[in-house]
């Protein structure tokens, strides 16, 4: 069957951090040898194009938005279709004495970026040691993919990290959408992408939800709902695992930080309501436990140490989950579409869902899945949705496991020994065994597991966040990994879940938001009534999770 295309829209700097990792993971996983074609249908998220010189390109079907000064060394149009013109050769027809060149200093590139441009260095890029932890300031610093010239959209009105021009309220975002740049040009770019598609199925909207992009993505979502009424929209609101202003040093900064925390809560409330109203389904994502007011303590994953203060790290975790989860409808063999997934998970209008991750899926290098599951202690996966546990009762869930080949399922009949005594031994596939395991560990829960044999690539520019017990192939080893070696790929499990715990998450947002008097926040042009209505709406959504609805 031909590909069912999806268009990805990314709004905001943190969402772009996540997105950058996501596209990187996909592209570093491309296999160019055709003897073993990939099981992943890359055409779902990528598009084929052609440069003016006739070269064939394969670029993300993507539009992203960020603020002025957030790109550093990346030119807006990229350099895939046209190399950036040499500014010393610039020529304009105008009175020669009356032409003034204002040239900003060239943005320096880091070693990784320089190597990417050098065909000789390219082969070693995936494993070379780069100091990206320290060198990454903005997402383009570790961008491996090349984008189509129309992909990057820069908001001129607000500057990245400039206190004088903060883009921090839902209201400023919705107002921005009314600019010609969005209502006309951006909307038209969406249309152009979709016009190319033969079997367009829907959108991914990956977005910041604690700043002005909460409003911008909401306004865009409403447009999309209007214009492409029958397409599915999966909204993925992301929250950084750390806000720098929460590290205050004095009283004044503390007051400032508290104000920001409150502003962020309002943005969350307003945008979640839009996502509920106009999206097909939305999964709030954060690599820390609390998400709102303050992100809270970082989530923990087996054999993984990440610095939650680095967006470069925390966003890699969310991206790994997204890349894995979306495989549900991105495999060549799949019969499941984004619409199907949404339909499964949003019964009773439960449009908010939670996500989980087990990364790496800790399988000992000499073990089989059956023993691994048998000996597993604690929960299989961790929530990556703030203030939300992953329940084990009355849950609807879709999981995706990648990197466990069928050969690692169990020992052959004649060598199986003790394994044969386990009930799971009768399972003949990874999928079957996982579903069996889940049915044993949950109650009244419907679990659908998808599998992909190939592990997820985590070579450069993915951050090095795995401890020494994880081997090059991502399995847990008895001996520590060598100094010079890096993990190349990992097995990973991720899930989307719908259960009553999400109601608690919504409740907690409601509680926080209710404490705030909207009239005191001048940057919002939201009336008291409207705010009250939003508070009610989120409670209504919360109620959808109350009655113990059975699968």
């Amino acid at each position: 069957m031909s590909s069912r295309e999806i268009l990805t829209l990314q709004f905001g700097h943190y969402a772009n951090f996540v997105g950058t990792h996501w596209w990187n993971i996909q592209e570093t996983g491309f296999e160019y040898n055709t003897t073993q074609p990939s099981e992943i249908d890359h055409s779902v998220l990528f598009r084929e194009g052609r440069t003016p010189k006739g070269q064939v390109t394969f670029t993300p079907r993507l539009l992203l938005v960020d603020l002025k000064c957030s790109l550093k060394s990346l030119p807006k149009q990229g350099d895939l279709y046209e190399s950036a013109p040499d500014s010393s050769q610039l020529f304009v027809e105008w009175d020669g004495n009356k032409v003034e060149l204002q040239k900003n200093q060239k943005e320096p590139k880091n070693e990784f970026q320089i190597d990417l441009e050098n065909p000789e260095a390219l082969p070693s890029v995936s494993s070379k040691k780069y100091n990206l932890d320290e060198n990454v300031e903005v997402w383009s610093d570790y961008l491996y993919s090349k984008y189509h010239p129309r992909t990057v959209n820069i908001v001129n009105e607000y500057e990245h990290c400039n206190e004088e021009t903060p883009f921090d309220s839902y209201s400023s975002g919705t107002a921005l959408w009314k600019n010609e740049m969005f209502e006309d040009e951006f909307a038209d770019k969406i249309r152009s992408y979709i016009e190319e598609c033969d079997h367009f199925q829907g959108f991914h909207i990956l977005t910041d939800c604690t700043n002005g992009f909460a409003g911008l993505s909401s306004a865009c979502l409403e447009h999309v709902r209007d214009e492409y009424d029958r397409k599915s929209v999966l909204v993925l609101p992301t929250i950084p695992a750390h806000f720098p202003d929460n590290d205050f040093k004095n009283d004044r900064e503390q007051v400032f930080s508290i104000m920001n925390d409150s502003t962020r809560v309002i943005n969350l409330l307003m945008s979640f309501n839009s996502y509920r109203q106009f999206g097909s389904m939305f999964a709030p994502l954060c690599a820390a436990t609390d998400g709102w007011r303050q992100p809270g303590v970082p989530r923990e994953f087996y054999h993984t140490q990440f610095n939650h203060k680095l967006p470069y790290h925390s966003s890699a975790i969310l991206a790994s989950a997204l890349d894995t989860l979306t495989l549900k409808y991105r495999l060549k063999s799949t019969t499941c579409s984004l619409t199907d997934l949404c339909a499964d998970l949003t019964g009773n209008d439960r449009k908010a869902i939670s996500a989980s991750l087990c990364m790496p899926f800790s399988l000992n290098s000499d073990a089989e899945l059956i023993d691994c599951l048998d000996q597993w202690e604690g929960p299989l996966y961790r929530s990556i949705t703030p203030r939300c546990k992953i329940g084990t009762e009355r849950v609807m869930q879709h999981l995706m496991l990648r990197g466990i080949p069928e050969t690692r399922l169990k020992k052959a009949q004649n060598k199986a020994g003790k394994q044969k005594e386990m009930a799971a031994y009768k399972c003949n596939s990874v999928k079957e065994m996982m579903e069996f395991y889940l049915s044993c560990t949950t109650f009244a829960t419907a679990s659908n597991v998808g599998v992909l044999e190939k592990a997820m690539p985590v070579s450069n520019p993915f951050p090095e966040i795995f401890d020494q017990w994880i081997g090059v192939n991502g399995n847990v080893c008895a001996n520590p990994r060598g100094e010079s070696q890096r993990v190349e790929s990992i097995p990973i499990l991720a899930g989307f879940h719908s259960g009553s715990e999400i109601g608690e998450m919504l409740e907690s947002l409601h509680t926080e938001a209710k404490k705030l008097k909207i009239a005191r926040f001048h940057k919002f042009t939201i009336e008291q009534d409207e705010y009250g209505e939003s508070l009610n709406d989120i409670l209504t959504l919360r109620e959808n999770y109350e009655d113990s609805y059975l699968v």
């Binding site: 990346l74 046209e82 610039l90 009175d95 009356k98 003034e100 204002q102 040239k103 001129n156």
Partner: protein
């Protein structure tokens, strides 16, 4: 609010200091912008740290590109860009005039005059200046010649002369084509701007029809048709699964396909209706059929249409639905229930043009098109952007002239005239407010002065010449930028928009006064906080 009090930068400076700060900020931004003014101004090429290029001479665009940190400067910048939003022009003049009003005020304040009296004087002078403006305005007939003049004046301040003259023709033709015959307001959206990155800027042209930036998505569809019926519609011709189909309950691929087929019936019916109509009206004639749909058309539907020799375009812009009806006639259909010949539009020629990965479809030879397309050409992104910006300005200048039914003599003529009249009139103003009027009159001269500077003429000499000439001449007098001599802008065909000048006069005096009264505004602000 609480936050801004905590912010050290916003700590209330003493009033005098605050005023000084405002004045210096206004001077600063004036300094940056003054080289832009007029057709002899400086073209700026901005190259970002990543190598992005922007070429412009337009005040509004520069203000958007600049990183303005100072709050006063950004207030002025915002006022100027608001000016552009409303009228599409006059940004540079606004910045210059605000700066000059404050500079003049500074002189009097240094001598001990209270800012409030100056502000009052500004206000009086403003009213008088508006009277002068009304006196000097030249009522025009809406015809080609008059519109060409005002558009040419505007465009020659944006791009070099040869190109300006090409674009002037294009813009005026475009507006005249779409202008409703009954004198209803012009909707500039009915001029589509389409960019093609190739050839040179002067190859830009007007297409009396529509150009779409997409083509058919079927290899067997014709690339060119003549005598075309055009069906414009917003009807989905793609199969979309309506049934909710759980991933928990697997269906085999065959089962699924069967289901798809059943669901397709519905879409096929729609396609059949189009084909039936096509057969009915085209068979046995030389007529052909084109369908342009706002919704999707899937490969199966395309296939059926292609077999009938129909060109089918999917996912057309919403706005093109309206444009197509205006360009070709016919009505945009939301259903195919009663499809008939009378719903269709007509175009003499429809053809596809491929450039790189983009296809363009030209819908041309329309009878009496009321929506047209300006096809912009240029060798690279930044040159395309530059002429797009220029064309926008040109179109708005034409539209302003149509709405005003009048123009203003340019080249500094209004400013010279208003300066003269204000100075004569000032004696009727009582008390020290009069000094505000004098300051205002003096400030207006900044426009001819900087026009002179930018053309390399001595400022004082030029102004004296202009003033002398204007005392003797009954006609408004402006500056000839080539010779430095006085001219009649009317004879030279240099015209500005009435509404633009009016806006400039209004907004500049208000902003300048606010900046002068910073002291009182701050106190008022403080007390309202306490209360």
């Amino acid at each position: 609010m609480a936050i801004s009090l905590l912010n050290p930068k916003a700590e209330v400076a003493r009033a005098a200091q605050a005023l000084a700060v405002n004045i210096s900020a206004a001077k600063g931004i004036q300094e940056v912008m003054k080289s832009n003014l007029g057709p002899k101004g400086t073209m700026k090429m901005l190259v970002s740290g990543a190598g992005d290029i922007k070429i412009t001479k337009d005040g509004n665009i520069l203000l958007h590109e600049m990183q303005i940190q100072h709050p006063t400067a950004s207030l002025i910048a915002r006022a100027s860009t608001a000016q552009d939003d409303m009228t599409g022009d006059g940004t540079t003049s606004t910045v210059l005039l605000i700066g000059e009003l404050l500079k003049q005020a500074d002189i009097y304040i240094a001598e001990g005059l209270h800012p409030r009296l100056l502000a009052e004087g500004f206000d009086k002078a403003k009213t008088k200046a508006l009277e002068v403006l009304d006196k000097i305005k030249i009522p025009i007939e809406i015809n080609r010649e008059n519109l060409l003049d005002v558009c040419r004046t505007s465009l020659r301040t944006k791009v070099h002369q040869t190109l300006a003259d090409v674009l002037t023709e294009v813009c005026v033709e475009a507006v005249l084509a779409i202008r409703p015959k009954d004198n209803k307001p012009v909707d500039l959206h009915m001029v589509e701007l389409m960019q093609m990155q190739h050839k040179t800027e002067t190859d830009s042209s007007l297409i009396k029809g529509l150009v779409l930036d997409h083509g058919s998505r079927h290899p067997d569809m014709p690339k060119r048709l003549e005598n075309c019926y055009i069906l414009t519609c917003n009807v989905s011709l793609e199969y979309e699964k309506s049934e909710v189909n759980s991933g928990f309950f697997y269906k085999t691929a065959e089962e699924r396909d069967k289901m798809v087929l059943a669901e397709r019936e519905f879409i096929d019916q729609r396609v059949k209706k189009v084909i039936e109509l096509k057969k009915k009206i085209c068979t046995g004639t030389n007529k052909t059929f084109v369908i342009i749909n706002q919704k999707g058309i899937d490969p199966m539907s395309l296939d059926q249409l292609a077999k009938e020799g129909i060109i089918a375009l999917r996912r057309a812009k919403r706005r093109n639905m309206e444009r197509l009806s205006l360009a070709c006639g016919g009505t945009a259909m939301n259903t195919f229930d009663d499809l008939s010949e009378s719903c269709l539009g007509y175009a003499g020629l429809v053809y596809e043009h491929v450039l790189g990965e983009t296809k363009f479809t030209f819908v041309e030879e329309c009878k009496n098109p009321q929506s047209v397309t300006i096809l912009l050409k240029g060798p690279n992104k930044h040159s395309l952007q530059q002429i797009k910006d220029a064309i926008r300005d040109g179109l708005r200048a034409i539209n302003n002239a149509i709405e005003d039914k009048a123009v203003i003599p340019g080249a500094g003529a209004f400013e010279i005239a208003a300066n003269k009249e204000l100075l004569q009139w000032k004696d009727t103003v009582k008390g020290k407010t009069r000094l505000g009027v004098v300051a205002y009159a003096e400030a207006l001269l900044v426009i001819p002065k900087i026009l002179a500077t930018n053309s390399g003429f001595d400022v004082q000499e030029t102004i004296v010449k202009l003033q002398e000439e204007s005392h003797t001449s009954p006609e408004p007098i402006g500056l000839d930028l080539t010779s430095g001599e006085p001219i009649s802008p009317k004879d030279a065909g240099i015209f500005d928009n009435y509404i633009v000048k009016k806006q400039i006069i209004n907004s500049c005096s208000v902003i300048a006064s606010n900046l002068l009264l910073v002291d009182e505004i701050m106190r008022a602000g403080m007390s309202s906080l306490k209360g």
